[in-house]
């Protein structure tokens, strides 16, 4: 049942870490095909955010390669990688606290600053997140967690990515807002956006995802179609809190 579409994003044999001699990722292979939603699951400290940092270029891998549509991007500066079409909603949202909501969104379009596009794209973002319209001049640091998550997502979309990386977008949100976040992800997936979703909220993530990987102590332990992992007894026991 292997699909023939080319990998939008592929990690091959990635080794990475922060301190010499302490590997955080060991031989990670991961693939996200065009138009696919892939979720990367794992416990605290498994190395999920590290994988995201490697893809964005914030952390140089010690070995292995990262390819975007067949072109190597490891070794590029983060600023160059966004230009190739990768945007990220970082863990903990990381909105620019002393910038207004609108300035945060505009910053998301920084890579497209040479045109007038970012100003026009704002309207589309406000349509998706009407809540942000009334907050546009408010400092992002003073928003609620849910509103900050909207800013972080809107900001990433302003980059008009081909591949969107989401690092625990549901973290710290009330259940209703968690649903809203996953609805948004489904909507984006419906529009054909390629998504890599890091989550600890395994059941919701597996619901929206096509395929999943499970990271344990820096190694990929399991991978497969989302439905299969959802019904896998071992996954159910360790990640879904059932069985």
């Amino acid at each position: 049942m292997e699909s023939k579409s080319p990998a939008a994003l592929a990690l091959t044999g990635i080794e990475a870490g922060y301190v010499a001699g302490v590997p955080v990722l060991s031989g990670v292979d991961l693939e996200v095909r065009e138009g696919e939603v892939v979720t990367l699951l794992g416990r605290n400290g498994a190395g999920k955010s590290t994988a995201i940092r490697v893809i964005c270029g914030l952390l140089k891998p010690n070995a292995g390669r990262v390819e975007l549509h067949g072109e190597r991007i490891d070794g590029l500066e983060p600023a160059a990688i966004v230009g190739r079409g990768i945007a990220v909603v970082p863990e903990g949202r990381r909105v620019f606290g002393s910038l207004s909501v609108e300035e945060n969104l505009l910053m998301g379009g920084f890579a497209h600053r040479r045109g007038i596009a970012p100003k026009l794209d704002l309207d589309a973002i406000y349509t998706s997140f009407p809540r942000l319209v009334e907050r546009r001049t408010q400092l992002a640091g003073t928003l609620s967690g849910g509103e900050q998550q909207m800013v972080a997502m809107g900001r990433a979309l302003m980059a008009k990515p081909r591949v969107l990386l989401l690092d625990e977008p549901s973290m710290g949100l009330a259940p209703m807002l968690i649903d809203a976040v996953f609805d948004m992800i489904s909507t984006l997936a419906g529009k054909g956006l390629t998504i890599l979703l890091v989550e600890q909220n395994a059941s919701e993530a597996l619901d929206v995802a096509d395929r999943a990987y499970v990271l344990e102590r820096g190694r990929i332990r399991r991978e497969g179609p989302a439905e299969r992992l959802l019904s896998d007894p071992e996954i159910r026991a360790s990640y879904l809190g059932v069985g």
């Binding site: 600023a79 966004v82 970082p90 910038l99 920084f110």
Partner: protein, 289 residues
């Protein structure tokens, strides 16, 4: 001295402190660093203005200001690249970085002494001795330049930081360099540009201060008062730096008159200590920056 002259002189020197304080605040915000070389960069700016006025006699004063700003911007850019960046990249502790900036300041001041000598110099321009009369009071003519350049710089900075991509990128990188990088900002370039900008503003302060003071390798000592101004207004805040500059400038002018001018410098610090006792994070902490 009458009240009006005092007031004008306090405001004028307050503008100078405010401009140098803006430099402190901008760099503090951009890289969390107190750059004690800031006032020596102001001093170099004052000498660059002097060099321009000597090299091109009769050149309009505002051109000397712009020339000094451009020269200082280049110097600031180079200092950040060559002297500060390598230590930051090796994750030097803040204490060492602050000591490093003190060292850079000493190098700059000794460099100026080597080039321009130990004796104070006076700007070879009519502006130095010129006075203008405001409502019957004689005031140094350079006050007029201060009154124009200060607001122009403030408006320019505001527009730069809120209306341009580069300004927005500098603020974003100051908030969170990694996240800004994932949006296409090069944080290292952003800090260099912040340094260049802070240096240019310092140079403007130096050239404007020269006609009411003197130009000498050791004029950077006013940096400690500008630092007090930046702290009073909350380090990192540009409006705070301006407010702090006026408080220190007016405070030391009137305070010096009330007590004795010898105590002017101590008054600046008495004000700082007093304000920090009441509001330890400075007057504009929590406000929009």
């Amino acid at each position: 001295m009458t009240f009006v002259i005092q007031l004008m002189s306090g405001l004028a020197v307050g503008c100078i402190y405010g401009l140098v304080a803006i430099g402190f605040s901008m760099i503090y915000r951009a890289m969390g660093l107190v750059n004690f070389a800031q006032a020596d960069i102001m001093m170099i700016g004052a000498f660059l203005g002097y060099a321009i006025l000597v090299a091109a006699p009769g050149i309009p004063f505002w051109l000397a200001i712009i020339g000094a700003m451009l020269g200082a911007a280049l110097l600031g850019f180079v200092i950040e690249r060559v002297a500060i960046r390598p230590s930051v990249a090796r994750r030097a502790d803040q204490v060492y970085l602050v000591l490093l900036t003190l060292g850079i300041g000493i190098v700059l001041s000794n460099g100026a002494r080597l080039i321009w000598g130990a004796d104070p110099v006076v700007y070879p321009t009519g502006l130095t001795h010129q006075t203008l009369t405001l409502a019957g009071y004689p005031l140094p003519a350079v006050y007029l330049y201060i009154a124009v350049v200060m607001p122009a710089l403030l408006v320019g900075l505001h527009l730069f930081f809120t209306r341009t991509w580069l300004g927005l990128a500098l603020r974003a990188a100051a908030d969170d360099p990694d996240t800004a990088a994932t949006m296409g900002v090069r944080p290292a370039l952003a800090t260099s540009v912040s340094f260049a900008l802070a240096s240019a503003i310092g140079a403007a302060a130096g050239v404007l201060y020269a006609p009411i003071s003197y130009v000498s390798f050791d004029m950077g000592v006013i940096g400690v008062k500008a630092f007090a101004a930046a702290v009073v207004g909350t380090l990192g805040s540009i409006p705070g730096a301006v407010l702090g500059g006026f408080i220190i400038g007016l405070g030391e002018t009137f305070g010096g008159q009330l007590i004795a001018t010898e105590y002017q410098d101590s008054i600046a610090f008495a004000i700082m200590i007093g304000i920090l006792l009441l509001k330890p994070t400075g007057l504009l902490s929590g406000a929009r920056r």
